[in-house]
Amino acid sequence: MSAKGEIRIEKISKAFGSLLAVKDVDLSIPAGSYCCMLGPSGCGKTTLLRMIAGHETPTSGRILIGGEDVTDVPTGSRGTALMFQNYALFPHLSVLDNVAFSLKVQGQGTAQRRDQAMNMLKRVQLSHLAERVPAQLSGGQQQRVALARALVTNPQVLLLDEPLSALDEFLRLRMRSELKRLQTELGITFVHVTHTQPEAIALADQVIIMDHGVVEQSGHPREIYDQPHSPYVARFMGGQNVIFGTVGTKGKDGFAVTDEADNKYKLDSALALAKGQKVAFAVRRDGAKLASGKGRSDNAIKGEIRNIEYQGTFVKVALKTCQKDEFLVYLSDGEYFASPRKVGETVSAIWPIERNHYLEGENNSSGDPTGH
């Protein structure tokens, strides 16, 4: 017996003509959790969401909501509600009638459904605008109307397609915390599609990161941020530097790894690596320190400072190294200003061996949210 809002996705694929948008995805989203699907545009996250909502039919596989197979159940009777990216508010209906719409198609009487819709509007603090039409509302107000319209049917699952993307920065942060508060209050499952990583980290109990129609990694945000599965996840989530190298001999303190510029690193001896193997590993940007460029030490990378940005609580230093990506170091401002650097200076970034996180996945995409 499954809980009411639990979603299970079994071997789901979706093809549009010859294009495979979603490939053989298996997923489980626990009831009452806040789940964020994250990935660049075109990664299949919206298609997956629309399949859960019933707006697209899977080419193969099953979708279960609350333990019930809903793969062939029409939209609107599977206990889900979708909030559209552009809100899709009906332009010819008042705010109140927009919210009452799903009650109207169920055949409820006018007075009853308006009462119920008004209660929902109060909940999102918009009852004073009930008689307006959507065109007269601001973006933030439209978003709340869309939310109220989706919630009025008491869905087990609320699906949100890029719900914050149309708002300006300030409103986005406010609505973000409001969404989280609402989800906690209602206790239903939220599935939220986004391409911005901070949004996912801030909101989610479970982050699902996708690329090219497959799930790259799924788990708690901290796990994904700290222990990315592949170079792609590390880059997309941010906060990490990705380093490529070749495995050398295994010593008592781990495997020796060397990169093209002969920088030397160490990876955990418990890993199953073979000599000569190409490997990738990640180092958190806030885990490294800078040392002057003279001499060589283990687990350090040499580079030339390209850019220094003061960010308030920390200072971001970008190094040009032999690696493809810039190597970024986040230093606390106290630490940085104790020994300030200059652009053009050659330095070493150095960090403890246990900071090295081996990346077992092979996806090496750039992790650019726009999909380039």
Partner: protein
């Protein structure tokens, strides 16, 4: 730079003058036949207006010289109303269909465009011959209405395309998400949102049929519509009665246009008025 430079001002006045002359060119002749339709009994077909009267309007209804004007008017009205209804309904659904790609959508679209640009007389001739060669009698409500639809439907379709350009199909998806059935989506969402555009389609359906001349010419059979009667009168009638009938049919057209425009304005006013009540 708004009109601060004197050069811009001159060009503005020159263009405004040109535009004014164009409006005069469009409406002046029409206005003159309105005036001359009130010509006195002794008055001629040209100015000046002598002893203004409504004699020639009365003459239209009482004299037998003008043939079956009443019947022609009745038939024109029936056809125009039928064309209005059929054009609106057929183009509404066809427009919805053309949002998707389907087998045959290209040929149907091109057929509509061909019908739009082909000389009306040719199509009239073709339709007339098609009926005669297949042994079917020409009838104004069958071959005639078909010929009119060949003219109103392509226009209606193009207007539906323009209207649907601003229609967001996620409205329909949102309705489906709320549990609406296909017929509920049509009644509560698609139709009401598209309604003002549909009035425009209907206006084209009515006026294009009501004034249609070349396509009616060889397709009506034994009975005439009003434009055909009027066209015949241009060679046979040499009194201001010709202007009187012109005035009457133009006034009818103008009333229909006014009704359609007001209907669109009322619907749109209602949609934005809600602000005032809150």
């Amino acid at each position: 730079m708004q009109s601060s430079s004197p050069k811009r001002k001159t060009s503005f006045y020159l263009l405004a003058g040109f535009f004014g002359l164009f409006i005069l060119f469009l409406y002046g002749p029409m206005l003159s036949i309105f005036i001359l339709s009130f010509q006195g009994v002794q008055g001629s077909m040209t100015f000046p207006l002598r002893d203004a009267s409504t004699h020639w309007f009365g003459d239209l209804f009482t004299s037998t010289r003008y043939g079956d004007l009443g019947g022609a008017f009745r038939r024109s009205m029936i056809m125009a109303i039928a064309a209005l209804a059929l054009t609106a309904v057929i183009c509404f659904f066809a427009g919805l269909a053309f949002r998707k790609r389907f087998w045959g959508s290209g040929p149907i679209f091109y057929l509509a465009i061909v019908s739009l640009v082909i000389p009306g007389l040719l199509l009239s001739f073709g339709i007339g011959q098609m009926f005669q060669l297949s042994g079917m009698p020409l009838h104004w409500m069958i071959s005639g209405l078909g010929a009119h639809l060949s003219w109103t439907l392509p226009f209606g379709l193009l207007i539906m395309f323009a209207v649907l350009n601003r229609f967001d199909s996620s409205w329909e998806e949102a309705a489906r998400d709320a549990g609406a059935t296909p017929s509920q989506i049509l009644r509560y969402v698609t139709l009401p949102i598209l309604f003002p555009g549909l009035i425009a389609v209907a206006l084209f359906g009515f006026t294009l049929s009501y004034d249609e001349f070349p396509r009616s010419l060889l397709t009506l059979g034994t009975r005439n519509t009003l434009p055909l009667e009027v066209a015949n009168m241009t060679s046979s009638v040499t009194t201001p009665a010709l202007y009187a009938i012109g005035t009457i049919t133009t006034v009818i057209s103008l009333v229909v246009i006014a009704v359609a425009f007001s209907a669109i304005a009322i619907v749109q006013r209602r949609r934005s008025k809600r602000m005032a009540t809150s």
